[in-house]
């Protein structure tokens, strides 16, 4: 469904992604793990067309994403929840959702379905997005991405800085979307949280896609984590937030 082949991206002269490849089916949750600066966020931006690929192919079903201008990519059915949420913080909750709906001409029915997932937002519709709590902001960012009724969802560190209850809400949403057939790429620092929802873990190192393993393998053998994510992660510390 979502396919990345031989992707090379640069910031100026610095190569950030090297021959990156991944493949994702509908209803699959792929968790991307790697060190800071490994290229995780850049990969998501490249899929969205926000960082232009110098070479390589990006396809969603039959649509060739790499040929499209950035604003046409989400219209193919990709919802993006950027790192740090990037809400339109001076607009109201309702306006933020409206922007999500407008991307693919969705209307009240879609909004209703999204609000069932995040009922808290319903009481906050007229409030400025910047005044929400961290958890509510993340829900809004996720809800805004879901307003596109995406086939594929890109989540960049959605649990960063959240309380445990809010993390549970976000992860439950990912599970629910998985059941509805949405393909999800999850960039996550909380390894344990990631392991509970992911079908597959893909390691990324220096902009290259490396091994891809099942979550069970990782639980039994944390050496991979040690190698790709960093020396600070030991088995007993899995799930403790790293910064």
């Amino acid at each position: 469904m979502l396919r990345v082949e031989g992707l090379n991206c640069f910031y100026g002269n610095v190569q950030v992604l090297r021959d990156f490849a991944l493949e994702l089916k509908g209803g699959e949750v792929l968790c991307l793990l790697g060190r800071n600066g490994a290229g995780k966020t850049t990969l998501l931006k490249a899929i969205m067309g926000l960082v232009r690929a110098r070479s390589g192919r990006l396809t969603l079903d039959d649509a060739e994403l790499s040929a499209l201008p950035a604003h046409a990519v989400p219209r193919q059915g990709i919802g993006y929840c950027p790192q740090g949420r990037r809400l339109f913080s001076e607009l109201t909750v309702e306006e933020n959702l409206q922007i999500g709906l407008m991307a693919r001409d969705r209307g009240a029915a879609t909004l209703e379905r999204v609000l069932i997932l995040f009922p808290v937002l319903r009481e906050r519709m007229r409030q400025r997005a910047g005044t929400l709590s961290g958890g509510e902001q993340q829900m809004l960012a996720t809800a805004r991405a879901l307003c596109l009724e995406p086939k594929a969802l890109l989540l960049d560190e959605p649990t960063e800085g959240l309380m445990p209850s809010a993390i549970t809400t976000i992860l439950n949403t990912v599970r629910r979307l998985k059941a509805e057939g949405v393909a999800t790429i999850l960039v996550e620092q909380r390894v344990e949280a990631a392991l509970t929802v992911a079908d597959r873990i893909l390691f990324i190192e220096n902009g290259r896609s490396c091994e891809s393993v099942a979550p069970d393998v990782l639980r039994d053998d944390p050496r991979l984590l040690h190698h790709y994510v960093g020396v600070g992660v030991k088995r007993e510390r899995l799930g403790v937030q790293r910064s």
Partner: protein, 292 residues
Amino acid sequence: MSLGPHLLLALMEGTVAAFVLALTALGLTLVFGVMRIVNVAHGEFFMLGAVFAWAFAHLVGNPALGFLVAVIASPIVVGGAALVIDRAILRRFNYQPEATIVATIGLLYIIQQLVLIFYGPDARSVEAPINFRVQLPWFGYSGYKLVVAGIAALLLLATWYGIAKTKLGLVMRATQFDSETAQAFGIPVDRVYAAVFALGAMLAAIAGVLIVPIKQAYYLMGLDPLLLSFIVVIIGGLGSLRGAIIAAFVIGISDGVISVFFSPNLSKILATLLVALVLIFRPEGLFGGKAR
């Protein structure tokens, strides 16, 4: 004339000037707010509006009909020119703040010289579309100036409504706050930029059309509104629409009053002093948000 009526006249003159200034400054602050571009050629759009108003009025002949054609056609022509400028120049510089300042300085001279070549160095007047005087007990007042204030007020309201309440306005505000995320939600940012640049130019052009029966169309007439617009936009806060409008009234009305009772130079001195004070004590402007 005693002090009371004198003050009233000064206030009325100041208010009309403030409405026209508010339109011009709104265009400047809109372009800066959404595109982060300081458009030094903004006053030339004002001048072009006035010059095309003269041309259309001249073509049509009948003052009322000519004005009606001018007030619609002139902003459209200027908006079209702004679209071409956006495509041909600003987009090629990728809307970088420094490059676009230099580019628009060049544009200011190019537009001025083109007008000088094709329109000439003369100041030409356009007859006001209506010719009645409002007779107050102490003095008569030009009815056309009241019409100017009325049209400007309507346009300010319409612009506010368009930005705050319509989908297009929402798209503009989203682009203003975070253009990258706007793109990630299907907003064609470069088309929004083109539209905003054209809209900003059209607001200045309409102000130019409205002013031409009061002043005259002249190829250097864009400099004064440019300076005043910058004063207003800096005091109000770069990019703040509300700030620009409030500051336009403060500057416009005080300019009217001080010019009548003291001298126009003093009012410019005070306005510039106010800009300096704002820049020292509140650099983001009285109504500007913190820099993003």
